[in-house]
Symmetry: C2
Subunit: 144 residues, 2 copies
Amino acid sequence: MKISTKGRYATKLMLDLATYNTGSPVSLKDVAKRQDISEKYLEQIISSLSKAGMVRSVRGAQGGYLLTKEPKEYTVGEILEVTEGKIATVDCLRDDGYSCDAKNQCVTIRIWEKINDAVKDVVDNITLQDLLDWQAEGADQYVI
Amino acid sequence: MKISTKGRYATKLMLDLATYNTGSPVSLKDVAKRQDISEKYLEQIISSLSKAGMVRSVRGAQGGYLLTKEPKEYTVGEILEVTEGKIATVDCLRDDGYSCDAKNQCVTIRIWEKINDAVKDVVDNITLQDLLDWQAEGADQYVI
DNA sequence: CTTATTCCTAGTTGTCAAGTAGGAATATAG
DNA sequence: CTATATTCCTACTTGACAACTAGGAATAAG
């Protein structure tokens, strides 16, 4: 089980916007350079975030993107959900139509439910502000 | 993020072996029928489990597979690790050589670490015996 | 000897992640 | 008003990998 680059890049992207959250728009070019991610790919990723209303765009020269809320109001869970879709470890947990016909006889599903809950509990309780704080604390203590 | 069929089938397979753990070998044919999984695919899956010493095989007619330990001694975590490989949500967490060069400046990695820990905490604390117990309790209470 | 099984290796097929590519629309600066 | 910087949109590409399928060799039971 993996979290794709899309979700991870989206998180880095949002953190970058939060870090450079001065009031004037931040261009993807800059984000791309700082985070070392293809600008074209970032365009696609931010498109989802923009459609979800999580960022606001300013077109044209000197344009870019801005957060629409305070960093503390974004959870990592939201960001991942918008970019990766529902975080379900297995299909039978999806609530979008598909469902396993043996759901009621299947004991193993309880494992996947527990995993899901545990993951959700983590990502729904980390905000962009937390990431900013961690950054401020200095990453030095996490060097290996 | 997903858990592949391999890991899920392996879990079902092991649970089936635990359920029919009478002392005489259980054939994949029977497991395949009961769990509605391709027998050929099960062969591949159990091969990993067998190489890891988690099951013992008996060849020839009336052959099959047997657990080598008590159900309570198998964790779901082990089963998944053997069949899916290390459960790392992102590559930079793998401890097998590959590592992200920006590990020390990367704040987001702490998110993936926390997710990983949470998942591990779940799967390492569910044993086959737990699954047997859940089965015994009756799945009825989980019907939707 | 026949049949039931595990064991082993090699395909196959489709899907999806992870981008790349190209250009249209829009705004700013000079 | 023109050149430039940016977002916006859609389509394409490429490689990897999940999820099997296929075929047959080895082994044991009856």
